[in-house]
Symmetry: C2
Subunit: 410 residues, 2 copies
């Protein structure tokens, strides 16, 4: 947790990955992020992975450091309360982050009618409002077709919800850009961040739209080879699988020297009339021969022998691991990483949780904060953000419009 | 292009994907983003994909809308000029975006010695300064092990550089948060955004660190099934592969109803003593049976028959496509998408290029701008950002410290 955004208040009415991860990053940077949650939990409150007691490790991972107001959103009065939160008064408030549909009771027009400088950041599936999730967008733009081994024609879905994650961080970036503009001009706006546009613009930014447009051809599947450079997985003499990449001249010369392949590579260069040193594309074109040389050299040595030699020669490499191995074996990732703090979570379990991914030198990093129990902050938020008095809050409780957290989960 | 960041000047000394994509997003939001490039191009200037004439579609995709100053960075005078650009005077300047190593001539300490409120945003591999790329980090945190079909034990590298992309957008978010703080407090800082920390914190945010820590077990590979919910690929009667997902109650009931599976699903629920309607996790646990039912129903109908029925019933689905098919067949992605403009690029080719992924209602979207030729802006930037006069600029040219673009590429 940092304090950079400490005078910013963002209200989040959102589920799944993209929008909650946006709110998470803002909370980690010091914004006050207030979720409103359906009493008993929204559609992702029980999402896997879960712990043995049924608590969603997913939900509590994505909602760390936020506050929670539990509302019955099926009641008109509950919906009115959600609108009041989204459009809360105050300089740094009136910012609503959501994946609710563009029309309906949380439309930007209806929020801006309450607060003219309202900022609404809306994560969407398709830009036209059609339903989509990371996994359908990914199939629709062709990534699974490019992924996997060339000897198996089946498409491979990614397991990392990359479009959700990228959409979440682009939403946070857009929110800060919009709030910066509001501070300068006084004007709010709606910001729409569709998964479909994040995905297709990314493929454009990487040159892949140009590639298929100009060539009229799809890029062939290259398996674990790195397209356009030298890189793939190799097996050591003792059966460890490692990823080796050489995209810069230094990485390439370090690899050739470390594996004592200078003569073989020079012979290949002479035969083909090329020089690999400063052209990663040529290394890709000649990958069959180069993979053979590197594969034989790696296969002749053990990991214990190779690892220090690679480090000494500046080779860019890593072992393949499972996540459990990664957490257990590499102190840089979790156990020795200042990003992580061991926390008690709403599930009742204690485990290490990360703070913000970037390290800011201007402020000390405070430990990560756990997710709230549902409704943990109902009273406090209604009182200090909306100015409700005790009688009003009690009446909302009595009518079942809001709920508070008891011990543990609401 | 939007104008939200119009009074912000960011100097970029960076290559590959993460840091240049950060600069790209800022440029698309209206910041003035000035790259300094080695005369003749840096290590990624010729990176694949390339067009038939050798222009890097990758480089020109990631550097759209930026300015370019070409410098000989091997000369001490060239390095001094890079430092002057990074620490340029002015309210919205003194912001440097880089993937150069933390120590050396572009260290934050040396920049802050010139400009005390300097902001330096540094993309890194491992947080400890060790060399890493997206593909080595991905292997090191276990994603390839989780990816691919369970009947094939080989790990599958992703082809989307997801960690690079997420790091780039997190860097942009961090930069705006830091600049917001500087506007409030006057203080600069260094922001470090390591690929390793972006990756491992993301797996923490998704609950996966908790999952392996608490269970002591790696999640088994589930192939194209969506972990924890209903979703996978199915084949229609006419051989089309489609992705179907149901994570919400509405998506599930729409699918069951659309495929007329109510009776079969009810029988399965009765037999197992469960209800799938409001528990996506149960749909995952019983996926073998449910996949069989849905697979048979999908396999009995053609895509032309299913597509309108799915739309009518709110089923979340998409066809699997290649990227070329996606661009050609779905007008929502490129040809009919207001994000894209057809531009002449430095390669000399004309093709559609995307603007910013989010749509901001407060300003009209201006067309995307092409990448600069190397050195296209050398004179302009030296004059107006650093206040160099004509004689000084001419002398820098004469000594080979800077270069300007001729026609086309420098």
């Amino acid at each position: 947790m940092y304090g950079h955004l400490r005078n910013l208040t963002v209200v989040e009415g959102a589920s799944f990955i993209a929008a909650p991860s946006c709110g998470l990053y803002l909370a980690q940077l010091g914004a006050r992020v207030i979720r409103f949650d359906q009493i008993g939990g929204g559609p992702d409150f029980g999402r896997w992975p879960k712990d043995a007691g049924g608590g969603s490790l997913y939900w509590e991972g994505l909602n760390k450091g936020k506050q929670s107001v539990a509302i019955d959103l099926r009641k008109p009065e509950g919906r009115e309360l959600a609108v009041r939160l989204a459009t809360a008064p105050g300089d740094g408030a009136g910012i609503f982050l959501t994946n609710y549909p563009p029309e309906g009771f949380l439309s930007h027009a209806s929020l801006a009618a309450r607060r003219p400088d309202q900022i609404t950041v809306r994560v969407m599936g398709w830009a036209d409002g059609s339903s989509a999730l990371d996994y359908t967008i990914n199939a629709a733009v062709g990534l699974p077709d490019m992924t996997g081994h060339p000897d198996d024609p089946r498409p491979v879905n990614h397991v990392l919800p990359a479009w959700d994650l990228l959409t979440g961080s682009m939403a946070a970036l857009s929110l800060l850009a919009s709030e910066r503009r509001r501070r300068e001009t006084g004007a709010g706006e709606e910001v729409r961040v569709p998964l479909s546009d994040v995905a297709i613009s990314t493929l454009g930014n990487l040159g892949q739209i140009a590639e298929v447009t100009l060539s009229g051809q799809d890029r062939p599947r290259v398996g674990n080879d790195l397209f356009g450079a030298f890189g793939r997985d190799f097996i050591t003499a003792d059966g460890s699988r490692i990823m080796i990449v050489a995209i810069t001249a230094r990485q390439w010369s370090g690899l050739v020297s470390c594996l004592s392949l200078g003569a073989e590579v020079a012979a290949l260069e002479a035969q083909a009339g090329v020089s690999f040193a400063h052209d990663e594309g040529l290394r890709f074109e000649h990958r069959e021969a180069l993979n053979g040389l590197v594969g034989a050299a790696v296969g002749a040595r053990t990991l214990a022998d190779l690892a220090p030699a690679f480090e000494k020669d500046g080779v860019c490499w890593a072992p393949y691991r499972t996540l459990r191995q990664a957490v257990a074996e590499d102190r840089r990732l979790v156990s020795g990483n200042p990003l992580f703090s061991s926390l008690d979570h709403p599930s009742g379990r204690r485990y290490p949780a990360p703070g913000f991914a970037a390290t800011m030198s201007g402020e000390a990093r405070a430990p990560a904060a756990p997710a709230p129990a549902l409704g943990a902050d109902t009273e406090e938020v209604l009182a200090d953000l909306l100015g409700c008095d005790g009688a009003e809050i009690a009446a909302l409780h009595d009518r079942g419009v809001v709920a508070s957290a008891g011990k543990g989960r609401a």
